[in-house]
Amino acid sequence: MKKFTDSINEKQNHYSGDQKLYNEIYNLIEETLTPKMDGKDSERISLIGKESLVNELSKIVQNEITRTKIQILESFKTTPNLIQENIEVKDELFDMVNETNRLGKC
């Protein structure tokens, strides 16, 4: 059952397996952006340039990741007590990430 799911996921991946973010954004573009002719769907029109858009959008996400990292580090810097609390909060976050991943797979 697991292998079957994996093979379906592989078919959906436009990029290699280790480029998770790129694949997520590519699928997002496929799902949301549609070409229109006079506001209507048409089989005769299609989109090109998705890869370069993926590239640009992934830069936005990467920058947000870096900003988040800096914000957390700065919060540690300004509130030294946070260092003590790190272990408990980390466990809560671990559960949140697991839950997000589980929902994403459903």
Partner: protein, 263 residues
């Protein structure tokens, strides 16, 4: 030299014909100045209005990126392609889902940062090690994405006039960006009463640096200290140019043609 006191100006106008003419001219000029000021202020208000009515930053950025990168291809009659309008829809939905992805990554990043600090430093975690981590992180930011003016500059720090944008200080710049530029050199430049100006001239924005109260383009200048400033803060200057061009919605010819060559 006569000193004109504002309250008695009407009496002075009636006192003598030649003086009357002279003061009429003065009043005309004052009116002109007032008109110019009003025009400038109304112009600023219009620009502020345009900025406030715009979509949120990420929506504008994604719309821009779609326009820049995505094309619609068509196969069929040329006549039909010419008469019908081809568009791309769904950018708002894309932004909505992209925000979800960003939020998920933020949560995961928070976890990984905390884990990293715990296992890398353990009880040895101190200010110095956090500073080192911040330094490493800021070197990755602002490299790939053009920042918006409000990302870098506070409205208190710069002034937008009819044809000039003046950056007066870096006081409200976010700390992560401060670390990214050579902040000590740049802030010293501003602390000494200098500023950086952009002036709109002949269809393009030009960068001006103050030199003893006079402004001049430093791009072709042989004065080393200005080239040194640009050289040491090239990312900052380039971002300032990008950001200000974005602010006024004008393509920055200087950035494309001149500055890139000298940096």
């Amino acid at each position: 030299m006569k000193q004109i006191v504002w309250e008695n100006a009407d009496e002075l106008v009636d006192s003598d014909v030649s003086e009357k003419y002279e003061y009429n001219q003065i009043f005309k000029n004052i009116k002109k100045i007032n008109y110019k000021l009003m025009k400038k202020f109304s112009n600023i208000d219009e620009k502020k209005l345009v900025l406030t009515e715009q979509k949120p930053k990420i929506n504008r950025l994604v719309d821009h990126l779609i326009k820049e990168n995505i094309q619609v291809t068509y196969s069929g009659d040329v006549d039909e392609a010419l008469t019908k309008k081809l568009t791309v829809e769904g950018s708002d939905k894309l932004v909505e889902k992209l925000n979800t992805i960003i939020e998920n990554y933020k949560t995961a990043t928070e976890l990984s940062v905390r884990e990293n600090l715990k296992y890398k430093y353990g009880s040895q975690l101190d200010q110095k090690s956090i500073n080192q981590e911040i330094k490493e992180s800021v070197s990755n930011i602002y490299v790939n994405v053009t920042p918006f003016p409000q990302d870098i500059f506070s409205a208190e720090d710069y002034e937008l006039n009819e044809d000039t944008i003046t950056l007066r200080s870096l006081k409200n710049m976010p700390t992560d960006y401060m670390d990214y530029i050579n902040y000590n050199v740049a802030s010293k430049y501003f602390e000494n009463g200098n500023n950086v100006k952009m002036r709109y001239s002949n269809g393009s924005w030009e960068l001006y640096f103050e030199n003893n109260g006079k402004y001049g383009t430093t791009i072709d200048s042989k004065e080393d200290k200005y080239k040194k400033f640009i050289g040491e803060n090239k990312e900052f200057v380039a971002d300032f140019l990008r950001a200000t061009s974005e602010l006024v919605g004008t393509k920055n010819i200087l950035l494309e043609k001149k500055l890139i060559n000298i940096l």
